[in-house]
Amino acid sequence: MFIPCDRGGGSAAPDFKGFTLLMPAVSVGNVGQLAIDLVISTLDMTKVGYFYTDCLVPMVGNNPYATAEENSMELSINAEVYSLPSKKLVVLQIRSPFIKNKYRPFCETLLSWVKSSKYARVVLLSSSHAYQRDDEQLLGTPLRYLLTPDLEKAVGGRMKELNWKEMEKVAAYPGISNTDKVLHIPGGGITKLLFTESCSEGIQMAVLLKFCSEGDNIPDAFVLVNYLNEWLQLIKSEVSTSNNSTDPSSQWKIPSSWRLLFGNGLPPALF
């Protein structure tokens, strides 16, 4: 599935052993994907390959992270892989929805690629329907995390230090007491499947998600990417001198492809 880019000079396929794989789930508000766009754009990551897959709706366009005419002509498709070796980071961006009944084969192929590439851990950015929250979840932070047992041992303590909130399990049959508690991530796309499969296959995976609704999800993307940054420290969050608080939002670079997200200009004849 993974096809490395030909960078010339007959270079071999890139080595991802020990790297962190950061990827989005196609989920409500596309928040994970927007957050990934911010990471790739800000860290100026290099494309190292793409997925040749029949599981995602095809699409193609020119470079979504173009900053000038010179770099605007590279084709970009629905599933591409970027890397930043200095941070041992690899990022997968998924740009289109799954074709009907194809999300399971995709998850299987993805996880086997994770294992064969020997990634140290996978971080999945996702979201869940805000309207499905229960009374307790309506209060406090809309951000949650999940860790597979293998990763829990390694970083569980750090999450506690950061005062992060673990995603709550819900009753399998709401309204009936004494039922099993299960993980339920409505609107999360493949999040739950990837997480449960990773648990059973011993893959170190973390899920970071935000409760949100469809709409203008750019602010949600910023909140999620800052949440990620609290842990992975991808960019330095500078202390703002004016109000003495840490607000790294301004340090994320918005990609040029985010232009015109809500349509074209208006016809002057309208007025």
């Binding site: 029949d54 929805p97 232009r259 015109l260």
Partner: protein
């Protein structure tokens, strides 16, 4: 109707199989048709030198021009194709909810069809007119079966298609845009001069042309 609660579809395009949605009568009918053997999702690519439809020698191809959609197909019919210089060498037979094509090569412009032609004076030049809609779960299959039948010899592929002007994202309103206009996408391997500007961000191409 008034008072009906409509669930807004999510932009994320999820397909959560856990919550099996109730089927409308139309859905049920479509599903039954799909399950019938005649209306399967598999597509057949039939070449003229394969009377039984089985794998034959691959076609050597140096230039492949694909016209996708009725407008592009009509362009080829009006300006390029004629029975003197071009011969039909293949046809795609498929079915989906939007259209159905058959294995006949005698088609009317209003039909849905997908035909392959070869230039008689240079048989490595192949042309495809695809006026039918190839569904998203069939696009990959189409690619693999068509390109899989070819022996590529310095292959150059040109894809012709059309999109509605209203879908074009630009700072100004599309009302004042002079249309029709051409835009292009090219791979970095394509070194020749492109005859029109490249497609600007954030515009994208989807479906079979993208595939």
């Amino acid at each position: 109707f008034f008072g009906e609660v409509v669930v807004a579809p999510s932009r994320a395009g999820l397909d959560e199989e856990e919550e099996a949605p109730e089927e409308t009568p139309e859905d049920r009918e479509i599903r039954k048709e799909i399950e019938k053997k005649r209306y399967r999702r598999e597509i057949d690519v039939l070449w003229s030198w394969q009377p039984g439809g089985c794998a034959g020698e691959p076609l050597v191809c140096s230039r492949f021009i694909v016209a996708i959609g009725r407008n592009a197909a009509a362009f080829l019919s009006s300006f390029i194709l004629d029975s003197v210089c071009w011969e039909v060498v293949g046809v795609v037979k498929l079915w989906n909810e939007w259209c159905k094509t058959s294995s006949t090569t005698n088609v009317l412009p209003t039909d849905s069809f997908c035909l392959f032609y070869r230039l008689i004076s240079d048989p490595t030049v192949l042309l495809c007119q695809c006026s039918c809609y190839v569904a998203e779960d069939q696009q990959f299959q189409w690619l693999e079966k068509v390109f899989g039948s070819m022996q590529k010899k310095g292959l150059q592929v040109t894809i012709l298609s059309t999109c509605p002007v209203a879908d074009y994202k630009t700072q100004e309103s599309t009302l004042t845009l002079v249309s029709p206009f051409l835009k292009a996408l090219k791979t970095k391997e394509f070194q020749e001069q492109v005859c029109c500007p490249l497609l600007e961000q954030p515009n994208i191409v989807r479906d079979l042309p993208a595939a």
